[in-house]
């Protein structure tokens, strides 16, 4: 979509039709004044975040973030500890709802649907926006039941045979099937760290999500297990939208197509990963990724 430069220097986009278009244009103008460097938009967004603020009690953790998350893309979120990247990630499937003092304002839409709409049921939302955490957290159940749990509670399978298929497909997509197919009845907690993380990814996949959020998914893994997860992320991109928070800048450079740099709760810069890691536009981004952050 073509950008249009307004007389006052702000950037508007071509009008679409209906109310959404007006909201988009208005928020675009605002976003330019909010100071994120780079293009917050993508041509084909799965999720759109506008003017997102997060407060923990009186303390504001996230400030006025506008960001599109594109379909079948990996977007990585980087920044120093406490910059708000994980907090922002958790907004995307309303995980922050579980924290009493946390308040989220602004608008986050998935495929045009406001995910903070009061009438929206958060359970199916979290199935469509799955999450993988820093530390692998398999249920204390068999490998099979770890995967089958979600489809069962969401009523996604009609019979045992269908459930078997879901388990097999999910484990295959997560690159774990060959390693565990002969021991599906054994506890998931008995797997290695890397296998457990892939089990958690398979568990997220089993409920047919649109988006997978990953919060430092490799920080507890060795380099080989990390490489396997990174390879998996690249394969999953074909079918899913992935947002990953990582402390490893090399990992962000390797796995993502877009990179967002956060600093003190603000989205400082977002852009193509190739651009961010070769010629970032904002001084703070450059200082961070080149190790000049004091």
């Amino acid at each position: 979509m073509d950008d249009v430069i307004n007389q006052d220097g702000t950037v508007a986009r071509e009008l679409k039709t209906g109310t959404d278009a007006e909201v988009d244009m208005q928020s675009t103008n605002e976003s330019q004044s909010r100071g994120t460097v780079g293009d917050i938009y993508v041509d084909d967004p799965r999720m759109t975040c506008r003017n997102v603020n997060v407060y923990y009690g009186d303390k504001q953790a996230i400030f006025d973030i506008d960001l599109d998350i594109g379909k079948n893309q990996v977007i990585s979120m980087i920044g120093p500890s406490g910059c708000g990247k994980s907090t922002f990630l958790r907004c995307l499937n309303r995980m922050n709802d579980t924290i009493d003092v946390c308040k989220v304002t602004g608008q986050i839409k998935m495929d045009g649907q406001d995910i903070y709409d009061g009438a929206l049921d958060v359970v199916p939302l979290r199935a469509s926006v799955g999450m993988v955490f820093q530390k692998p957290n398999p249920f204390p159940k068999s490998i099979y039941d770890n995967i089958a749990y979600g489809p069962r509670i969401h009523g996604l399978s009609d019979d045992k045979q269908h459930l078997d298929e879901i388990v097999e497909t999910s484990l295959k997509k997560a690159g774990l099937w060959e390693e565990v197919k002969d021991r599906l009845d054994q506890p998931g907690t008995g797997l290695s760290g890397g296998q457990q993380q892939r089990l958690c990814i398979a568990r997220a996949i089993a409920v047919s999500p649109e988006v997978i959020l990953m919060d430092e998914p490799c920080s507890a893994l060795d380099p080989i297990a990390t490489a396997k997860i990174e390879e998996l992320i690249d394969e999953l991109r074909e079918n899913y939208t992935i947002a990953i928070v990582t402390h490893s800048m090399q990992q962000a450079a390797r796995v993502s197509q877009r990179t967002a740099y956060f600093h003190l709760g603000k989205l400082i810069e977002v852009g193509e990963t190739d651009q961010i890691f070769t010629a970032p536009k904002h001084r703070l981004t450059e200082d961070y990724i080149t190790g000049r952050f004091g």
Binding site: F277, T278, T285, E286, F293
Partner: protein, 241 residues
């Protein structure tokens, strides 16, 4: 130490970048010196000094190799990104160009030996004059390109690129004058061919200086301006000038 090399949390990284940037300046200094000495040997008809210039080229080759070793180590150890990555790539390319400046200076020194140590009548001063004036011109370009590199000065970088166009005109003019010499006295054909090679060597040195100007623009702005028209280059970096 400039903004390209300083400021890392890991201070050894600053030092490593400083080292490879220092090698550019060292090699640049030697390249300029080789050029001046080579041209001087021609003026002085000093074949012994020309031999020394040729021998000294080995020192430039050694710096070239050392820079490559340092760069490989640095990339493996630090996984550079953004301006660090651009700095390292710029150093590597600049070093390669400066090493070739040394090669071109060596060609001129070889010419001194060829002219004055082969028992034949050497060329007169008149026919060599263009070599001296072009040498001064490329000397200034080379100095300016190294200043642009060390000071991260886009003005100087752009100016060197501009001057390369002027250099090419000088080269064409010199060739025209050589043709006149040949037409006036056909015995000067042999010398004229050798002088063309010397002028060509000098023109190449100017080309290397121009390349360095382009690398500096890439280093500072992240824009690759090689093979682009001068006006486009100027427009692309206008916001940084």
């Amino acid at each position: 130490m400039n903004e390209m090399t300083s400021g890392h949390t890991v201070k050894a990284y600053n030092q490593e970048l400083e080292t490879i940037n220092g090698l550019v300046m060292e090699l640049g200094g030697l390249g300029i010196d080789q050029l001046r000495r080579a041209v001087q040997t021609l003026k002085d008809e000093d074949t012994k000094a020309a031999g020394q210039v040729i021998d000294r080229d080995q020192k430039l080759n050694e710096i070239d190799i050392r820079a490559d070793e340092e760069i490989i180590r640095l990339i493996a150890k630090r996984q550079p990104v953004a301006k660090d990555l651009r700095d390292i790539l710029t150093v590597q390319k600049t070093i390669a160009d400066l090493e070739r400046v040394g090669d071109e200076a060596r060609k001129i020194a070889n010419l001194t030996i060829h002219f004055f140590d082969n028992g034949k009548t050497p060329p007169g001063n008149e026919i060599l004059r263009d070599i001296y004036s072009m040498a001064e011109f490329v000397d200034e370009m080379l100095v300016q390109s190294l200043e642009a590199f060390s000071e991260l000065d886009l003005h100087k970088a752009l100016d060197v690129i501009k001057r390369d166009e002027k250099l090419y005109e000088e080269f064409r003019d010199a060739l025209r004058r050589l043709s006149t010499f040949i037409m006036e006295d056909s015995r000067s054909v042999g010398h004229a061919v050798d002088i063309v090679l010397a002028l060509r060597a000098l023109e190449r040195i100017g080309g290397h200086a121009k390349n360095i100007g382009g690398f500096v623009i890439f280093l500072v702005t992240g824009k690759d301006v090689r093979h682009e028209d001068l006006n486009i280059i100027a427009a692309e970096i206008a916001d940084r000038l």
